[in-house]
Symmetry: C2
Subunit: 208 residues, 2 copies
């Protein structure tokens, strides 16, 4: 199985700009990237970074494929190269809660296309086992990927995972990392002074 982790340092995690500086967002995104790479390896697979620039792979313990196009054409180029001969998995680099168990469930689920939906209609991870399938990450990609697969007469399986559904984009997502994370990303937030803000309703975060 070819496991690809798209990752770029160009204005990373822009929706966290209210709570983290650009340099901090870069460092935090890198910690999440490394947690995801570790989890993929612990699930028994060998990850490859899909980056926009060679420097994006700095410090990462994984080889990189460089493609400076947007996400959709870059991932589709990977599918064109590999999906004819092997399964291809695409795992986003901001899944800070991903565990080997959750990724094993993804990798082992049957179906021509296996989708782990993200909160808000995204596609946080998927496995493609048919050469005809192509991605479209724009908009509600979870729904679109299901439609595209159905239109091509491909079977689709959902992976029901809170951990894989949690991509870290917005300040409220940081609470999930503090609550459920176990790796470098959680450590980074704690070192940066973030802690849970417990009130009634859902918890948020505060920073010292």
């Amino acid at each position: 199985m070819q496991v690809v982790v798209p990752y770029t340092t160009r204005d990373p995690k822009s929706r966290l700009a209210d709570v983290l500086s650009l340099a901090e967002r870069r460092a935090f995104a890198r910690a999440m990237r490394d947690d995801v790479l570790d989890a993929v390896r612990a699930a028994g697979e060998t990850p490859t970074l899909l980056t926009a620039d060679e420097s994006d792979a700095d410090g990462a313990d994984a080889p990189a494929v460089v493609d400076d196009r947007p996400l959709t054409p870059a991932v589709n180029a990977v599918l064109e190269t590999h999906a004819e001969t092997e399964s291809v998995a695409v795992v986003m680099a901001d899944l800070a809660l991903a565990t080997p168990d959750a990724l094993s469930r993804l990798f082992e689920s049957e179906g021509d296309v296996v989708v782990a939906p993200g909160r808000g209609g995204g596609t946080n991870a998927l496995v493609v086992r048919h050469p005809d399938f192509r991605v479209d990450y724009h908009g509600a990609s979870y729904r679109d990927h299901r439609r595209l697969a159905a239109a091509a007469d491909l079977s689709v399986t959902d992976v029901d995972s809170m951990r894989l559904s949690t991509d870290v984009d917005e300040p409220s997502d940081l609470a999930e990392v503090l609550l459920h994370g176990t790796g470098a990303a959680r450590d980074w937030l704690v070192d940066a002074g973030f802690e849970l803000d417990v009130a009634d309703g859902r918890v948020g975060v505060t920073r010292e």
Copy 2:
């Protein structure tokens, strides 16, 4: 196994007040309740409603236990009555995405205490298999329940389910119901004129 579904019609879903009237929130909460009861039955168990008032069970295809105290003491009374002799599951009535598969994973997970975390640190569903465990739903109850179990030397298992992690409290949660729901709650939202609002980032909802 005793499966309890806490449910009240007193100011239900107050954080949806900006998008739904009180009467609408009552009707929507009832549709979610009925979806949860259906999913529990389809998972092979017999649900009991835990209500604050007898009328809360109106129209529900399940028996009701009435206890007008807040959630924590009402659930703890159920544990006191039943946990000595059988497993007790507590499943929130606003898990509009709950499926029989997701609930079966919950019911079948091993451990003295099994927790399905909710977004923002809540406890959306749990199974208790030890008479000494008591709940505390105030604040970040997921973390507290893990601590309480550890303090009592009980084993704790997490259930990693996007469907069980999605309690429907806030307007953005309605998008999840439109995307992933399959029952009465999704139908209710569609009939009420809600649809997905697809832009970049996470999708939201609009109403006609």
